[in-house]
Amino acid sequence: MVRKIGRDFLYRYEENPILTAEDIPFRCNTVFNGSPVKYEGEYLILFRVEGLQGYSFFALARSRKGFFYKVDEKPVMLPAKKGKFAKYEERGIEDPRITFMDGVYYILFTAASAFGPMIEIAKTEDFKKYERIALVSSPGNKDGVLFPEKIKGKYARLDRPIGNDIGSIWISYSDDLIYWGHSKAVITPRPGYWDSYRIGASVPPIKTDKGWLEIYHGVRMTASGPIYHAGSVLLDLEDPSKIVARCDEPILSPRENYERIGDVNNVVFACGAIVEEDRTIKVYYGSADTSICMAMGDLDELIERTYNG
């Protein structure tokens, strides 16, 4: 693979986008915002499909080497039609983020309804059977990512409560993944920066010796609308409500046509990453709410760069 020298720290996979609506074996409007995972020797991406009617659900793509993906014939998670979750998933399910912990793949996603977005958690052990666990936030919250291990005996998550011109990343803790508390604001928008308007967690935190590496999205509001970038921050390993270092510059910004033009222009929106044995980090991101792409970089360089601000 040829490494393009660009303005961004992460370099794009040459064959981007890796998934578009054309790759889906059923009719749909767009695909975007997918979370990758390595499972039984395969690369999987659980991703958001927006149906033609406008509501979203999840499909699964599989690849032997992580470049060419084949999508399962049928969606794997649809909005609940009955039971206690149905009311809050009435307008779809969106933006899954997978965290592997103790043999279980936990999926945090957005439940959309007339009540507003809420964070919901589900789990799977085999990517065949998916089980909903709980709605874990009040409405007006999304971009939930679960830490891949307990911190001081508790599950921890980042999320992004929203409304009334606010848009910071918060942390909450739980003993059981159902009841959450000890909430605190962790990362806030920076006036004048690329992340000046709103920010939200993107990739589930990655443990490094310099701290929890969080790849987040930051929005800048411009005369022609919002621009979504990806950036990086390191959080304290023991107390992730504390920032160790935050990178001034984004690591990926919308530049290519497939990021610039789509259902929502000027969006790169990561929902997960895979760290390879050679320490390459592959970040999977939705581009322009229309396709799924991949960008790569050296994990240690990324940590270093973030650590040095």
């Binding site: 009311k87 007339a114 809420m118 936030s137 409405p139 007006g140 606010i166 009841y179 508390g181 604001a185």
Partner: protein, 348 residues
């Protein structure tokens, strides 16, 4: 049915000592209420601003260190190029937001529930950056021997609800944020039901309908989940903007009785009744068709924020009598009296 007290308003800003020199008390309202040591305790919201000299702009702000929060004053020339007036609620100075009034929580005590002695010192004073724009609207629930106080913690990150506890209304222990923003009007049921603590809360989510009353449960009062929407505003002149819970629900033999507020046309607030199932309070039994209290008197229709009546403190006597403390016009504390039976009768 509900009788407004003849000496209303019971507490006015002029009876309150500012928390520092240079501050002025603009309002004392939205009081949480509890009985302790044969006294009625009110936790008043005290809103303060600064008096500016000619040609100057003066706004309050809090400074924080590891020990707590301190009231400070930002004074700048009105024509300072770094000042931008937002609206009457605040200014932006050098890119930082300042509000024109800031609130904290203060104790008032009374033997008769009518004549109150107000403490000079704040009780819940903003103590960290998550409270940099103030602490507001306390609600008290007594569970076993401990008083649990929820209050709105306001900052640039939004308004969230925090929890504190006290045994004696002298010392207070802070437990941190229990409902992240935007969420307020949190009241905790005074006992566990089916093994869980329960609360009403009011998330606010712009763009997704009108703010509504939600229900949550907790194993320990610190971690909350099981969020469900309980009731949404009705499309009436009293509720067409939003609704929110009041004080902790009262236990009656017909169900949990909650006095909630509605905000309607022309920004008018009023108080309504809601009856929830005793064993399954997520199940709504009855909802009042008409308000039990709305702004009529001059002290309710003229003031800092006209036409607001807002209750977050209710005391029920053993004889079935009920004292509803309510804030009027975001300025004063008032009292209305009724009984459990009379309130239940209106729901028939």
């Amino acid at each position: 049915m509900v009788k407004k007290h003849e000496t209303n308003p019971l507490i006015e800003p002029k009876s309150i000592k500012p928390s520092r020199e240079g501050y002025r008390v603009k309002g004392t309202f939205n009081a949480g209420a509890a009985e302790y040591n044969r006294e009625i305790i009110l936790l008043l919201r005290v809103a303060e601003d600064c008096v500016a000299d000619e040609g100057l702009i003066s706004v309050p702000y809090y400074r924080f260190d590891a020990e707590g929060g301190y009231p400070e004053i930002l004074e700048v020339k009105a024509d300072d190029p770094h000042v931008r007036l937002k609206d009457t609620r605040g200014i932006v100075y050098k890119g930082k937001d300042y509000l024109s009034t800031l609130s904290h929580i203060r104790i008032a005590r009374s033997k008769d529930g009518i004549n109150f002695t107000i403490e000079d010192k704040p009780f819940i004073y903003p103590c960290s950056s998550s409270e940099s724009f103030g602490t507001e609207d306390a609600r008290i629930s007594k569970i076993d021997d401990l008083y649990y106080i929820t209050y709105t913690s306001v900052s640039g990150d939004g308004w969230a609800t925090a929890l504190a506890t006290t045994r004696d209304f002298i010392t207070v222990e802070r437990k941190g944020i229990i409902f992240p923003p935007p969420n307020k009007d949190v009241s905790i049921f005074p006992e566990k039901i089916n093994g869980k603590y329960l609360a009403l809360h009011r998330p606010h989510n712009e763009g997704f309908g009108k703010p509504s009353i939600w229900f949550s449960e907790s194993p320990d009062l610190l971690h909350w989940g099981g969020h469900k929407c309980l009731i949404r505003p009705r499309d009436t002149r009293w509720e067409e903007q939003k609704i929110g819970g009041g004080a902790a629900p009262l236990k009656t033999d017909k169900g949990w009785l909650e006095i909630y507020h509605g905000k309607g046309r022309d920004q008018i607030y009023s108080l309504y009744l809601l009856l929830l199932d005793l064993n399954d309070p997520a199940h709504v039994l009855k909802r009042g068709k008409e308000p039990i209290l709305f702004p009529e008197e001059p002290y309710e229709t003229r003031g800092f924020f006209p036409n607001v009546v807002f209750s977050n403190g209710v005391i029920a006597g053993a004889d079935g009598s009920v004292k509803i403390y309510y804030g009027a016009c975001d300025e004063t504390v008032c009292l209305a009296e009724t009984t459990i039976d009379e309130m239940l009768d209106t729901l028939k």
